[in-house]
């Protein structure tokens, strides 16, 4: 009874590893932006703390949350990749990541996303796109709030 290839693609070892051992897990204190995101129909939730630098770069980022492997792994992998990056680059990554999970356009900067490309398995599971995007939407919201602060 072999597992389907699609399922293996969706749940790559790296993804399962991030979901079991999320990186940058926890809360930031001090001068930072805190946002909350959820997918109400799934019950997935995320809390994210981001410290932006003067130029908008992501100086530090942490999150807590609960939800499916895809949502938690995607958030964890994201934090690893965006930490230390400048605002413009993070925006491109956000756009590119959306393209990865939707499979709707070529990437602008494939290298920047690194292993996040593994989440392209989500393309075959359209109803999981919002899981994969949960952390990214939270980051987007945090960036918006930073811009208006």
């Amino acid at each position: 009874m072999a597992l389907s290839d699609e399922l293996r693609d969706l749940y790559q070892q790296v993804i399962l590893d991030h979901s079991r051992n999320p990186r940058n897990h926890g809360e930031l204190t001090g001068d930072c932006i805190h946002v909350h995101g959820d997918n109400p129909t799934c019950g997935d939730e995320i809390d994210m703390w981001v410290k932006f630098g003067p130029e908008g770069q992501v100086e530090d980022i942490k999150f807590t949350g609960q939800g499916c492997a895809i949502s938690q792994a995607s958030a964890s992998m994201m934090t690893v990749k965006v930490k230390g990056e400048g605002g413009a680059k993070v925006k491109t990554m956000l756009e590119d990541f959306r393209h990865i999970v939707l499979g709707d356009a070529p990437l602008q900067d494939e290298d920047a996303l690194g292993e996040l490309i593994l989440l392209e398995g989500v393309q075959k599971f359209p109803q999981r796109v919002k899981c994969a995007m949960l952390g990214w939407r939270a980051l987007e919201q945090a960036m918006g709030e930073a811009a208006h602060a």
Binding site: L3, E6, C42, A69, R128
Partner: protein, 404 residues
């Protein structure tokens, strides 16, 4: 009972999904339909289709007779005193909303209490939230104990003279809990409250007798009991239905209409404005005939057997938490796995041909109560088999290995 033969009445079950035989364990969301129900629809559209009630021609009379005959079938299935107590609706949700709009608008006042339970489906919670907002009434809830039953010790303090509406689910779709609706309705009647029971998971699954339960209203959906989608019913005690204002205005619910004003037919017509889902009603009748040909008691026993097997086998899984009381329970087992979120598990199961449901099951407050983001649920009907339960166990074991 020849269950293997009965299973062959359901053409949909005989298919492969992702290269595996379909195991359909999402019956609490919607049941499958036997050939006789599908054929009733085809026969109606190929031979008798016409609008009902208003026609003097042959097809219209055939359609009207077939349509109206189902009212009596529904009445007998749930033990109503007379068939005029059956109002056809789209399903449980519409039935509850009819009462929460019309009855509540006439009879609820600010400060009155609407007493529900902590395990209501959104369809029996949100309509009362809206009614409370409109009337100024207050919502209260009988709490749910850790074992998934209601905390009846709170009744003395909750079931007061202020309670004007008591409503609860007959069989919980999220826990399997079978609530003591008869006792609860007696308590509610004693304080003069109107009572409505959400029977979405009960009708066609266990014997239901609205007069024995002693409720004022009883709501259910056809699609969960072998009938087509889009049809269900509201039972209402006739005196109550008669006391109620009309709901939707339109054809068939009126007697005399002038440009300025109208008077309304007696129930049930008063609440059935416009062209009804004629084929849906006829399909509901065919479903009732089909279920009766097996026997509701036999169906209940068969489902209990499958559920007991599943519950026992599942409790052996490492890292599993089963929700709701072990017994008695409706034909479902809801559970949480330590190693996998419900959506991951359901996705995994699906690639093996197994249809489970994962999520909040339209009971978000209950998920909060049990501190889970959601659960996975396997739900059974009489056409399921022991072999399918074993197949599910295989898949669950694989999932545990995969996700741990």
């Amino acid at each position: 009972m020849d269950w293997p033969r009965i299973r062959t009445d359901f053409p949909i079950l005989d298919q492969q999904v992702h290269g595996h035989p379909l195991v359909y364990f999402d019956n609490a969301a919607s049941s499958q339909k036997p050939r006789s129900v599908i054929e009733a629809l085809v026969h109606y559209y190929q031979c008798d289709n016409a609008n009902v009630h208003r026609g003097l021609h042959e097809l219209s009379m055939r359609a009207t007779d077939a349509f109206e005959a189902v009212r009596g079938k529904v009445a007998r299935l749930i033990g109503a005193a007379r068939e005029e107590e059956i109002v056809f609706t789209r399903g449980t949700t519409e039935s509850v909303n009819l009462v929460a709009q019309i009855w509540a608008q006439q009879f609820l006042k600010a400060g009155d209490v609407i007493l529900l339970t902590g395990m209501e489906h959104h369809s029996n919670l949100v309509p009362w939230q809206l009614a409370a907002k409109r009337s100024g009434a207050v919502l209260k809830h009988i709490p749910v104990l850790e074992d998934g039953t209601l905390d009846l010790s709170t009744l003395d303090s909750l079931m007061t003279e202020q309670v004007k509406v008591f409503s609860c689910v007959h069989i919980s779709n999220s826990l399997g809990t079978m609530n003591p609706v008869r006792e609860l309705c007696a308590r509610a009647r004693a304080v003069g409250a109107m009572t409505l029971i959400d029977g979405a998971q009960a009708v066609g699954h266990v014997p239901v007798d609205v007069q024995a339960i002693g409720c004022d209203f009883y709501a259910f959906s056809g699609h969960k009991m072998c009938a087509p989608t889009g049809i269900g019913a509201l039972y209402g005690r006739y005196a109550l239905l008669e006391s109620m204002d009309p709901w939707h205005g339109g054809g068939e619910m009126i007697n005399r209409v002038t440009l300025e004003t109208s008077d309304y037919k007696a129930p049930p017509a008063r609440f059935e404005a416009g062209t009804p889902d004629i084929a849906g009603v006829i399909g509901l009748g065919a479903a009732i005939d089909y279920l009766n040909s097996i026997g509701i008691a036999a169906i209940e026993a068969r489902c209990a057997e499958l559920t007991k097997l599943a519950y026992t086998r599942m409790s052996e899984l490492p890292g599993i938490r089963l929700l709701g009381p072990e017994s008695p329970r409706g034909a479902l087992v809801a559970f949480a796995l330590e190693c996998a979120h419900p959506h991951d598990l359901v996705e995994f199961a699906n690639t093996q041909g197994l249809a489970l449901r994962g999520g909040h099951h339209c009971t978000q407050p209950l998920m909060k109560r049990f501190k889970v983001p959601g659960t996975s649920r396997a739900s059974f009907y009489f056409y399921n088999t022991e072999a399918e339960v074993e197949r599910m166990m295989d898949i669950l074991h694989q999932a545990v290995t995969f996700f741990s």
